[in-house]
Amino acid sequence: MPVGEASCPVCSLPAGRLDRCAECGWELRTDWRQGRADRSGFAAALQEAVLDHDLRVAARLDEDWKPYAAWLRGVPDEAAWTRARTRQGPPVRPLRPLLARVLPALGAADSLAVFETDAEGVAVTLVRAGELEQADRSARHGVTWRELVPMLAQDPAERRFQLAGGLAGLDRATLEAVLRQRLTRWAEGLAEGMVRIAVCRAPGWTLPEQAVRSLGSMTARETGRVQDALDGIRAELPLRVPYGLLVAAVNPDRTVRMATRPLFAAGTRPGTSARAGVRCVEGGVAQDTVLAVVTEEPARRLVSAWSGPLDPGGAHELEVLLEAPGRVRLVRPGGMAADPRSLAELERLAPARLDLRAEQIELVCLLELNGRPEPVARRRELLSGLFELLAREAPGRVSAAVLGYGEHFAAGRKHPAVLHGDWLRPLPEAREVLDALPDRATGFYPNAAPLEDALHEVVDRGARDPFAYSRVLLVLAGRTAHPPSTPLLQDVDRPAHACLNGLDWQDSAARLDFAAKVTRRFAVLDRLDEAARAEPLWRELGRDLLVELPKATPRRLAVDMNLIPADPVRCPFPLADVPAR
């Protein structure tokens, strides 16, 4: 061995030019002294130091030295083992504070490499700052000690002894050079340009400690799992990017684009709640509403999603709690369950187009109360069904007036007052008004019904009622109106008595537009034959739509009246009622 390549007789560390071994403290050089050399004393001291060293190595590994007896350079007694075990190990330097200092300081494009050395080898956990909040996105790679330093023993127990410091007989200079070279190459291949932290999870073990020293300037020493430390730190970090609620924004041309409504700003700390009002699209009864929290930086990424039934069209309050970066809990509304679908799968649920109706409608309904049993029942059923449909698919947009009219001549008596019902009310109340209308009378005047009285009331009320919305008239009838006077025409097949109040339906119809502010007129007749189509009354009142009762359904009627879109498009996402990004 050349000068300078001598090694310590105790731990085999290259001696260099030091007087004492830097590792075990054995005195390597003294000054020259006169006198006789004590060779036996030196040998005993050396033996004792060697055994002590080996016992200390064994003490790092186990509570008993016997598993490692084969590699001890001597046979210890109890006192020597006790002395070895009571030596204090190196101080713990926890990893978590180091992570807590380093992680928040990472730039958006930075990455962190956390190296750990233990009895098996060396591992690295790579964390990108942009994916810090995603625990499952950390990559982990490892290499064994034998891959780094092939000269280590194959026997696992012996190798452990060597790793812990039992390197006597090995060329430590060469070993350490190989370790350093291979470790550096391995680390560079994985963590080039990254911020590095190295933690020794085998405190006091010679080679793991040495590996840590060569891997980074920021080091720690503890036995805990790196992932646990990372998770703990993550949970305490403020958000690096803002979180928002995924919403559907409707463009002027009715196409739909997905947008986000802000919930948590960047820098929000865990434990913070966010509230927002959401409005679900009308007609979404058959489909659950999806509440998805997403980030937009650097690209849209799903954080959490829930789905469940929410009343369509209505407003709901959303409250979410930021438990940790990447983990949000839904507090309100209730009844929602975690949605396992990916962001791409969820976004595919959004329709390409959405025909939203925002206009408020005043629906004035005139209902003939009497006649033959079947059409009377059908008229009421149709109107009730229409109200129910509008309540579901146009909630809050429709108010309705329900005016039912009876008979001027019935049971041998004259009845000037024939109207029942009430003027414009919110739809739920209008339904109650409809239900409270009188039942069908057992007798009715066959040639006419007092529709003229109902029209007169519409004009009178409509003129007195300041309006702001679109007002439409819907008549459900089977008979024509009473004339203002009994006709004198021979060619009227079924002449009708004059209205008892002298009212003229033509006069009222002429005032529907400007006095009553009715913009559209619809009529549903029990029978729609050629005669009915040609009758001036129905041409007036059914100007915008004239349909036959047996063919009418609530949905068809609502669509034909343009109260709801023809195709009720389902959109599971809340609407972006507020400007969204």
């Binding site: 033959r372 001549f409 066959p446 040639n447 025409l489 021979q490 002449p495 002298g502």
Partner: protein
Amino acid sequence: MSTPPAPATPTPPPPPDPAASRGRIGLWGPPASGKTTFLAALGLALDRGDFPWLLYGRDEWSNTFLSSHTDLLRQKTFPPATTDLSRELSWVFRGSRTIREGRLLRRSTREVVSELDLELIDAPGGYFIGRSQPAEPSRVRFDDDDDEEESQEERLYRHLGACHGLIYLFDPTRERTRKDSYDYFHHTVLQIARRSAARSGDRFLPQHLAVCITKFDHPHVYGPAFKNGFIDQTLNPQHFPAVPDDLAEELFEFLGEADRESSAVLLRNSIRRHFHPDRTRYFMTSAVGFYLDPDLGRFRHSQYWNVVEEEGDEGRTSRILGDVYPVNVVEPLAWLAETLLPRS
């Protein structure tokens, strides 16, 4: 001792006035032409108007029929349709009329009592056969034959044939839909001719005929009458519409010609062919009259129709809207009385 006075001799009844007279009137018309209602309206009409006539039943049955049906009308209910050829009903239409007596310079007038026997076999119109198939010819009858139906029909024709005057009811609203008025008239008039033509002094049937065009208050009758200038509202204090007597026949022709598919033109021609024009008179009649607004107390042109229909679960019924003011139900009888009975 005085002798009791001799019992007074009862005053003998006056000898019969050779000028007093009787006549026999028959009422006929198709089904639903309003015969029962016409009869029921007679009593009300006499009470409403200022007529010098009495009407009462010749027997209890006739009196009961008259009073019960009149009560129904007064309660604004139509009498029920007759369903069988039950009993002959007979009333006395009794009044006074002025006759002239004497010759040339010694001519004078006096009031005499006149009576008409208004007889009705109140048969439903189905007995007036109007089908296109000829009636079944008479057959040889045996004593044990059940000939109830045949004798009732024969009885009806015999009755009409024996009458001196006939009141024929023509319903324009019925003709509008069924168009069979001529069939009914023609078949019956042949039967009447077979039984009475021989006693006529001219080529016409001997009977005086009052043609009553009914349902004057219906829009299909009143409407055309009004629009074509047949109406005069000055003839009564309530301003009810009326058609002057000399225009009634013209209106009847107008109504018949207005509907080209109607058989009324044939009916008119048959009437003219069988009955002397001097012995025929036309009347626009309405058993229930026009509607009178109770608040105004007078006729309103905008609300004239006095009948309302009502449809219920058991079918259609007609009800009378206002009080009953019959139009021209007494007048045909009064005319028959004047023309049938001798004037001097």
